[in-house]
Each structure stands twice: as structure tokens, then as C-alpha cells.
Subunit: 331 residues, 2 copies
Amino acid sequence: MRILTIPLLTLTLALSLAAVADPLPSWKDTPAKQRITDFVDAVTTEGSEDFVSTPERIAVFDNDGALWVEQPMYTQLAFVLDRLAEMASEHPEWQEQQLFKAALEGDKQALGEAGMEGLMTLLMATHAGMTSAEFAELARDWIGAARHPRFERPYTELVYQPMLELLEYLRENGFKAYIVSGGGIAFMRPWTEQVYGIPPEQVIGSQIELAYEVRDGEPVIVRESEIAFIDDKAGKPVGIQRHIGRRPVLAFGNSDGDYQMLEWTTAGPGARLGLLLHHDDSEREYAYDRESHVGRLDRGLNDAADKGWQIISMKRDWRAVFPNDSPGDSQ
Amino acid sequence: MRILTIPLLTLTLALSLAAVADPLPSWKDTPAKQRITDFVDAVTTEGSEDFVSTPERIAVFDNDGALWVEQPMYTQLAFVLDRLAEMASEHPEWQEQQLFKAALEGDKQALGEAGMEGLMTLLMATHAGMTSAEFAELARDWIGAARHPRFERPYTELVYQPMLELLEYLRENGFKAYIVSGGGIAFMRPWTEQVYGIPPEQVIGSQIELAYEVRDGEPVIVRESEIAFIDDKAGKPVGIQRHIGRRPVLAFGNSDGDYQMLEWTTAGPGARLGLLLHHDDSEREYAYDRESHVGRLDRGLNDAADKGWQIISMKRDWRAVFPNDSPGDSQ
């Protein structure tokens, strides 16, 4: 029975704290913040016409550019390039293959020209051919050691403080938050629980094929060189249906890759909230939208007003960006 | 803050009840029950060498033959046959197709001979070509109306009372229970929360392809005529990895389709529990194992002792089988 003591204490503590403190201190007191807290109040107030029962309080979040930095390149692509460099000595043949040579030399133009097909080849070379446990260890080790080129900090410190607060605020209000990312599910799961408080079973992402095998009497799950599912654009509502089986009531994204996820979420009956983060803060982070190759936001900006989606300006709506920023930095 | 009142009361109530009552009253006081309660005590006792933290307390359950009756045919196959009968008037061409004719006439021998390929054809004819929401309504309506041919009760009353108690006992002890079934995920999700207390996001099963579309301005998820994933045998550990991303500590099955799920679960480090239900009770339910076409249990019986898996005898270990049985029925 001892195990029940802790939740009781935690609940009591949460109650006391919630009564006195602003749950979103890194959000400025703007209409965007108001929209969020109004929504949460409405769906959690019993008797309200917008009330949503706890099990139906599903919130979905994109990861790259929504929960953490995605410039100057997706973090997972930095992982791919580092892996290739590490593996290169075992693969002398790569020196004669244009694509691998470009990747090893960091030739971004050649990589860009290689397109999605080239990217998939590099992904398979680094992400398949080992067990799930081995890959999780590689991802965990890398994320602990790698540094962002501009901010010179671990990527896990380049998560957005206002988003950590939003996740915690939603949890306190009975929401279950999922990551729904175009990134690899197996790349994210080793660290999302520690960094975001989102456990592996609440992470949805792109996937390669898996196979169960017994090797020398030991069961393993092997990662195979074939794409099983791309969790991007129209794939996001499909990934949500596969994993959750309920339509979310809140969706948070930042690029046109999230368009269908917001569309699916906000077209449901009852109170719904669609949120789009606009990266317009080149000083504290980055400024990019319609023309960007990474995290392009074009159609979303065009349609947000019609769809009732709230645009969040990083520059105007966020007091702090990263956890180590002083909240007063840009006031 | 009002929403926090209910969990507090529930916790207090659970505390009081747990202190006085046997959490598994429909289980006889046999070594099988002892094995289960010893395991739960060990993994939930802080300081015990077998202690497992709450987030890692993942338990996986087969559905057909493990949580509810699977004889004389899988319930989902009864749904397929009823759907075909309902759709037949719109498909006069079926009268000239041997497979459909056999299904409509209930010719079990011909259906058996049509094999997996035939079954898939019937499945696609009844399970694809509509939206996910439409299919969920069909499944929900059917499960509310259909009756089991022998017991003449709704299938949802032919769930096993000892398993309902086990699910509740595990939940009270911080476990998260998943269904991992060869059956269709979309067939199960509309009713598992109400019947087992297992929400849709904790249901893993076989899946067909899904596509996101906007029809006349309304977003829908469409069920397509192609198998995406078979969650059976070696597919079960793969389904677990895809959906949960953690290795379970407890697995419960009843057929050789569950063999790899138990193997994967119990080969992990630390305390693990593998359980196999043996259907040996023709009086209260059914008796079948090595020779059965439905729910065959052969390899599992051979290897259980070596693997340390606990065989549960329906006849000797269960006081009651179904929720409406009097617990004293077979004492």
C-alpha cells in the first residue's frame, strides 16, 4: 500500500501550488496564452458545455520545431551525419559513392540535391541492421554527447521552456500528451520521458520495419532496411488513429507537415484547439517560415485564421525560449 | 481543481477495500494464484530486489481465449459472417462466388479449405471501404446485439471474471495493461474500455491500411483493402515494440500465437511472469489444446516448464468463469 502514498502527496502538493502560481510563467500575458488557458478551463470544468472527460483529453505535439530546435538541420540528421563519420572507417567503399562522400564532407548542397531518396539511403545505413536495444543505446549516447553548432549546448537543453510548462500544465489538468513527429520513433523514445515527461508509449513517429528473432537462444527485435511508416503530413492523422484510436482535442505544430494533424483535430465536434508556433525570433532562436527547407510553414499561415488556429509568435508570446534563459531576457 | 476530488476519493476507497478483500475472489487458492500475487508483491515492494518502477509495470494480454471466449469460432469471424449476410442483398454476384457462397451458407468445411487467403478476402469485403468512424459504429452495434450460439448471451458477458479481477488487481498495483491480439485493433477498440477498463490506446492488434482524406470539406480516415500488420506469433513482440517501446514484465496468453510474446517478455532481466491459460473445462466453457484449429496450444504446453511459464487450468484454478456465474458453482 506504500506505493499509493506518493500519488496522494503529489496530488496535494499540485493542488497547493496550482492555487498560487502561474502555470505558464514563460508565456507572456498575450491573447495566445489566454486562448490556451481559456480552452483548458472550458474542457476541464464539469457542467461546462465544452467539458471533455479525462480519457478523451488527448493532446498531440509535433517535436522538431515545436518542442525543440530544428535549425540549422533536423537533429536526427545531425545524428545521421555523426554516425556516418563514426562508421566510415569500416566502409572504405563510401569514399567512392557520391552520396556518402557528400555526407561525410558535409556538402549540404549535394545532400540537398540527393533529395528524399538520398536521405533514406543514409538513414538506412545508420538506422538499420542492429537490434532495437542497440539502436536505443546509440541514440541515448549520442544525445548525451552531441552539441548544437550555434548554441553549443546539448540538444536536450534546446527544448522550449514554454512548451515544457505547457506539457506540465496539461498533465496537471488530466491531459495525456503524445508526440506525433515525422522523426524516427526509435530515435526519440530513449530520451522523451526524461526531457519532456512523455513516456515511450506516447511517442508516435516514422518507423522502419522490425522483425522478431531468437539469436543463440536470446530473443531480439531487429531493425530492417525498409520504411514501415512515414508519420508526416497526411500520415500524422493515420499515426494518431493507429496508436491512440481517439481523435485529439488539442494539436500543436509549427510546419505544414502538421497541417493535417491540426485539421483532423480541430474538425472534431466540441471544443478543440489548434496551435501553430511561428519561428520569428532570429535573435533568441531562428526566423523562418514560407521559404524554409526545414520546417516550412506556408499553407498553415494562409489558412490559420479561417481554420481558427492560434498562431503563437516566439518573439511576442514567449518570455523565455530555452530552459536556461532568464525569463526576463527579452521583456 | 474540482476534477482532482474524484481521484482522491477513489484512491481512498481503493485503499480501504484492498486492505480487507481478496482482490482475486474468482481464483481458487492454488499455486497459480499464489504465483501471481507473489510476483505482484515482489515487483511493487520498494527495496525488494525485484522492484519494478511504476512506468515499467507493463502487462500484455492476448484477447481471444485469454480475456473472452474464442470457441466455437473467433468472435470477429462471427462478426464477418453476420456482416456478409447483411451485405448480401447489395452483392448478388456473391451467389456465384464459391467463397462468399460458402460463407453465406455457413459451410464451415469449405471455409476451412479456403484457408487464410479466403479469410482475408472475406475480411476485406466486410472491414474495408468505409471510414474508421463508420466501422467503429458497425462493430459497436454488432457487439451489442450479437449472441453466442451456445451460451446465448452477448459476447461481452462471455469475458472471464477471473481475468477482469486480474486486470483490476494489476491496475491497483500501478500496472498498465495492454491487449495484444491477433484480432483487428479496430474491432476491439470500440468496447474494450467499457468491458475490460482498457482504453483504445492500450489495444494492439492486426491492422489494415488507413488513409487520411478530406471529403467535401470533412476530414475522414478511410479503411483500405490491404493488410498493414498481422499482430500474431512473432508479430506480437513487434507490435509491442511499435506501440509501447518497452518490454513488458508480465504476459498472459492461451495459444501458440502468444508463444513469442511470452518468450520476449520473460527473457528480459529481473522479475518476469509468463502465464498460459489452459482451456480444460468443457463443462463451464470448452476443452481444447494441441489439436484445435482455434487457439491451438501445443508448443506452449511442451515448453512451459522449461521456460518457467505458469499454466493456469480453467477447471482447477478458477472458481467462476463468467461474470454471471455464481462463484460457488464448481467448488
